[in-house]
């Protein structure tokens, strides 16, 4: 399946991009577990970040995970999105989103999940270890693969306030990146329902971030849609649980 191959590639490129742009950062390891036993100190904080896929027909692409302080804001409703977030939302590849983040002084580390896309009813966990600070914030993003440019995620969660063994949990809405028309055609969506194009630099939609209005699907009268009613969702698509374990 092309999406899975694409993800392995993106994971590799993510690793390279992160390494090149952030060589001075400690405990940095894209593509999975970023615990670093060589740098254990009393001030380390470890967080387990789990995302549950609560949709019925939308695979989630690998999670882009960023730890930062409040000066970094990954997206804002009504504003245009970065090329990195456009790429994540259209193709599922988080690498440009993460490398953009790493170029920001407010970003402490970034990584992505390592197991490829994960489907409805399943979950993915990323464990990260960073120097603790009360000002730590967390951002997580993932594409809904059977869409043109929908993504779910959370941003600017204050995980620095969590004590060891505390956890926070919430459900996450779905955003429309606004960078690609929601045509739902087979040639325009990268997920398994379509196997079409991922990222395209052209911006032929509103070019501002909105709350996603959902997919229409052929079952509901959009006859050119490659989707059926099973791919719909209502509002929220994910549950995000963050637990500080150290």
């Amino acid at each position: 399946m092309r999406l899975f191959q694409q993800k392995r590639h993106s994971c590799l490129s993510s690793y390279l991009a992160v390494t090149v742009t952030s060589a001075t950062l400690l405990m940095l390891s894209a593509c999975g577990d970023s615990n670093n036993d060589d740098n254990v100190s009393n001030n380390n904080a470890t967080y387990d970040i789990t995302v549950y896929n609560l949709t019925n027909g939308q695979p989630f692409t690998p999670l882009g995970v960023i730890v930062h302080d409040s000066a970094y804001v990954p997206w804002q409703l009504g504003e245009t999105v970065s090329t990195g977030l456009e790429t994540l939302a259209e193709s599922g590849d988080p690498s440009t989103f993460l490398s953009e983040a790493n170029a920001n002084n407010a970003v402490i580390m970034s990584t992505s999940s390592s197991n490829g896309p994960f489907g409805p009813g399943s979950s993915e966990t990323v464990s990260i270890t960073v120097d603790h600070s009360a000002s730590l914030q967390l951002t997580v993003a993932s594409m809904l693969a059977n869409t043109n440019d929908a993504f779910t995620g959370i941003r600017n969660w204050n995980i620095g306030e969590l004590a060891v063994d505390d956890s926070v949990s919430s459900v996450a809405r779905v955003y429309d990146a606004g960078t690609e028309a929601n045509s739902e055609t087979a040639d325009s969506m990268p997920g398994p329902a379509a196997m079409g194009e991922g990222f395209n630099a052209a911006r032929n939609d509103l070019d501002r971030l909105t709350v996603h209005s959902g997919v229409v699907t052929a079952d509901d009268g959009l006859l050119t849609s490659a989707l059926n009613e099973s791919h719909r969702w209502l509002g929220q698509a994910a549950k995000v649980v963050v637990t500080r374990t150290q």
């Binding site: 609560l54 505390d166 919430s170 079952d219 099973s230 509002g235 549950k239």
Partner: protein, 252 residues
């Protein structure tokens, strides 16, 4: 005072503190005599346009009890509730137990119609509240307030609740025409109390791709009352979340 605390169903940001949990369990274990029962007046309002709720279960419990968990499989008693509206299996579980001062079943004495409200009065020493009922007409949609912490301070607290898909039955949107509802049915909605559903639908969907409890994707419906895929009316039976508003007035 009025607290306005979003439930997990919305954009609430819940915090589970182990310290608080320990304090709570110590309180119940060693200071039970000092624990005053509080009264919770729990009012449930049906916010939908055209969906009825089956008899509601309103139950107080401790922080470790979960009637259901979003993202996890539905238990058999939850499947009974979500597919047929049956509460007896839940009332037979240790998590809920029999009807008593802080477990109320069917406060509306029947269905809760669109726009209608009902109130259950609980007298309890517990800290958390769960509310469930099936959404009709659907295959296995239910409204769920899941193990919501209720403050001990006097006040009125408001929560908005999603419809979840139990993940246990295909959303075929075909209405049963005879017989009693059973959780073993493959598809088939047990009733359309608004008497506004169609007939002869050929079936919208086969089995769910997501077999865990998940956010319901909504019903499809159609405009063919005597055929089409769905027996639901797309102008009546669709909803957006939230589907219910729950207010809890705490009187210590």
């Amino acid at each position: 005072m009025t607290g306005n605390t979003d439930s997990t169903a919305r954009n609430g940001f819940r915090k589970h503190s182990l310290a608080l949990a320990l304090a709570a369990s110590l309180t119940s274990a060693f200071a039970a005599s000092a624990t005053q029962a509080a009264t919770w007046d729990v009012t449930i309002t049906n916010l939908t346009n055209g969906n009825h709720f089956t008899p509601l279960l309103v139950t107080a419990h401790d922080h470790g009890t979960h009637l259901f968990q979003v993202g996890m499989p539905a238990t058999l008693p939850i499947e009974h509730m979500a597919e047929c509206g049956h509460l007896d299996p839940l009332l037979a579980t240790p998590e809920v137990g029999a009807i008593d001062a802080d477990t109320i079943a069917n406060p509306a004495t029947g269905l809760l119609a669109p726009g209608a409200s009902t109130t259950a009065m609980l007298v309890t020493t517990e800290t958390h509240l769960s509310v469930v009922a099936m959404v009709l007409p659907t295959n296995d949609a239910f409204l769920g307030l899941e193990s919501q912490h209720i403050p001990s301070e006097a006040g009125t607290y408001t929560y908005y609740v999603n419809a979840y898909d139990a993940g246990t039955e295909a959303n075929d949107e075909v209405l049963m025409t005879a017989g009693a509802c059973s959780y073993t049915d493959i598809g088939m909605m047990p009733g359309a109390p608004g008497m506004d559903a169609g007939t002869n639908g050929s079936g919208v969907a086969t089995a769910d791709s997501n077999t865990m409890i998940h956010v319901h994707r909504g019903v499809l419906g159609d405009q063919d009352a005597i055929g089409g895929n769905s027996d639901l009316d797309s102008t009546i039976h669709r909803w957006q979340n939230p589907v219910a508003k729950i207010t809890v007035t705490v009187t210590p």
